[in-house]
Symmetry: C4
Subunit: 278 residues, 4 copies
């Protein structure tokens, strides 16, 4: 992307640089400005969902909604113009999200169903993930990402085992507690098991019988103990990522058989003879 | 098991390969198909426990129940036929679970007690553990297993210490709060202690007196602090499993039989004689 | 303790061995038998606190209570006889606990106040800590103990910082929420802060105003983030404890200046000359 | 600060040593005495907020309040006298906090608004942070601080990602559960998401519909799994701080200026010339 095509007009290259990249001051400014508008649009959706506000400040919300929609529309059009292969952007994940963030307001204007499209507009929230682009400015996040990638499979297996435990305990609790304690059926009992094992504990459903409480106690202590597993996995993997750049290699000095030479070493640090470096 | 007995008919060998192993495409297909049926049977048991569904879709459940029972029966018979020593399978843990997953439906058909056998049929859940066989496909899970095995004893001692703290705090809370706060007797107070220390916190029982709240605060901060212990154990053990490459090698001094020489050592560090380094 | 005084009669030495040590089969048997009696006495205290049981099985409890008291009395007397300096035992922590576990039943018998002495008898629970003696049979628990000892000071400072945060947030919440949300006064608000930050969350007190909920959200996310600190401390300290027995020492070969010799090495592993080991 | 200006009178130097430093016995005594007064003032503010106490012991509180205010006033004046550049202290964070801790009582005395200034007086709580100065007495806390500083950026990004998840799940739950389950509007639903993901779980708001409970289960298991991330970061960073003693030393080759030689290396690994090893 850095090697510009000479056939493309200069302003288009400039536009691409501003919108899609963040190396130039203008590009950074565009990114930050866009993030602020996205955050404002999210705050707007939030406040509009509060009944008292949506009645009181109906017109303020209406106008703000239109301003944001127009900004997003302009941004969407610019994005299509700036890129060489518009189709690639339009059908990408963020392309679709960007479109779905803009259309609802227009549809509501033409067909009226302001309330029905509220849900679709909430999709605008997904735009906030653009913010996470900022994380790449943080050093060593690659190591963290590697650690998380290495841990993912193991943590998923772990969470799956946790889920099986919850299914079994949930079924047992349904049989032990019955409908009196709120354990009306197995799905609800499993829901309770998850609430309990993850140490959330809402308290809307809770055991009443002594046996039920005993099983619940066992489940809670288990949950308290096994939370150590995912944590242990991530910290060990991450800790391990630090040890990748080991300073020594496996070369052996042909004269004194000394090992553990620093990477890039040409001479043996023990006898001063030349190493067999190709 | 890989070295087939020539006396056993070929089809029996083939069957054994499909049912008990997962190296061939047919064997893998059998495993996956079985897992799907098991999961379906569990979903069935769950939905049947919901009162509204069990009334509305009684016949659908009834037919689905019979289909699954027949599939499980065929599987059970095949497993007995395929193995050389059927007794070994029948009296194994999974053999018994497999039998108990099939029988209830037949008994209910003959003697009628459909509802009573619901609990026994829930045993079918245990079949889901067959799924965990998949975990062996994940690399390095041996290291994790080693770490967990090393940690087990220590975590059990830790959980036991946690339990003793809960007994003591529970007794104290029963004396401090009394029946007003819901701490009716010591077992219930211990149950509350476990709920609190593990940071679950249902809220069905909670202290009301200032002193009770003070003790509860201390218990909670303690619980927040000591959750570090099992996590620390697992992550240190797991982290340690990565460091297997100890700097010493397996050479043995030909003169004094001393072991554990540093990599690259030419002379025995014990007697000063030359080592057999090639 | 192992070097027996010849003046002490043999049976006394034998008794000391059985009661205070756990090296001989008889000593181990005594330990295990005592633990079972202690556990039974705790279960008894628990069940007696349940109103329905204490009425129904009054006489069973009464007899069991006396049997255990008599066993504890005999044990207490034997412990005094067996030891050379009885005063050292009597005024030790466990000596006092042992005495207080036995006396209440006698006092209740003489003066009648059965119910009043219930609380004192709960002290018997402390005897359960004798069980923790078993932990020393678990290998490497020294390393864990070292890690916990190293971590203690830092974790206490951490918990203290957590407590200060709770005081500040508690005060702020009292001013924000007022009495409507249950935040009647600052101590209660601090109690709520602790319940929330430690992720227990009973739900008996919870914010109602938008600002209160916003502060609560910040507190919860903070609590979720800072739980990493004690865990990080323990796992790093424990992980570090594994690296203590570094196989090499700081000796330098007087002939070839090679370092990193294994502990106990007498000859340089590089040139075969003798090391300056005193 | 250790090299005293000869022009400054001796008593002023002495005063500075006592108030601002903690090396001399007098300085340590001043620190401890001040901390006790600060803690007493905090306890006073707490107890005064309890309605029953503030009515019953009004005059005791009133007198105690004045005593503490006068002590703080004297301390404030002494701090200004003792320092060479008073402006630096007055406009520092603790200078402002110290002033705001003292003034309210005087204002309440002159203008009367005793209750209104209660909130301002709560600022006195911030003085408690002076206590954290003690932490520097704990060894190796530098390593911990380094680890926390290294982790901060990553943990903030992590908590930010958690917050985005909460916004999305909160919006979805508002649409799924609606007002029946207490999910009246998006901000409240986000509040619930945070309560749930952080495993606090008050239970004042909780899902009722099956779909809502399913999403809640997913959120809880996610929260249980991702708590591993901040913990992993801190423990890996902290564990890493222990490994500072890299096997290389600070020697520089006199011929090619190559650095980072392995401990014990006699010859430069880059040019093969002899190193200046004594």
């Amino acid at each position: 992307m850095k090697e510009k095509d000479p056939k493309i007009p200069k302003w288009k290259n400039k536009l691409h640089e501003i919108i899609y990249e963040a190396d130039t001051p203008a590009g950074k400014f565009f990114d930050v400005a866009l993030l602020i508008v996205i955050l404002l649009s999210i705050v707007l959706v939030m406040l509009e969902s509060v009944a008292t506000y949506s009645l009181k400040y109906f017109w303020s919300f209406y106008i703000a909604e239109w301003i944001i929609t127009i900004i997003f529309t302009i941004e969407y059009i610019l994005r299509i113009i700036a890129i060489r292969k518009p189709r690639k952007y339009i059908f990408s994940f963020f392309g679709i999200v960007d479109l779905l963030s803009t259309i609802p307001t227009y549809i509501a204007f033409v067909f009226g169903g302001h309330n029905l499209l509220f849900a679709v507009r909430a999709l605008r929230l997904l735009r906030v993930f653009r913010i996470l682009k900022i994380t790449r400015y943080i050093g060593e996040s690659n190591k963290l990402m590697d650690a998380l990638k290495n841990s993912k499979a193991k943590i998923l297996v772990f969470l799956f085992a946790v889920f099986i435990i919850c299914i079994i305990v949930g079924t047992v609790m349904h049989l032990v507690e019955g409908e009196a304690g709120g354990f009306d059926n197995i799905p609800i009992s499993i829901y309770w098991s998850i609430v309990t094992l993850t140490t959330v504990g809402f308290g809307d459903i809770h055991p009443i019988t002594p046996l039920g409480r005993f099983i619940a106690s066992a489940l809670m202590i288990m949950g308290y103990g096994i939370i150590a597993v995912p944590t242990g996995i991530v910290s060990a993997e991450y800790s391990n990522a630090f040890k990748k750049n080991i300073p020594t290699n496996t070369q052996v000095c042909p004269h004194c058989h000394e090992t553990k030479h620093l990477n890039g070493a040409e001479f043996c640090h023990n006898c001063g003879k030349k190493l067999n470096v190709d």
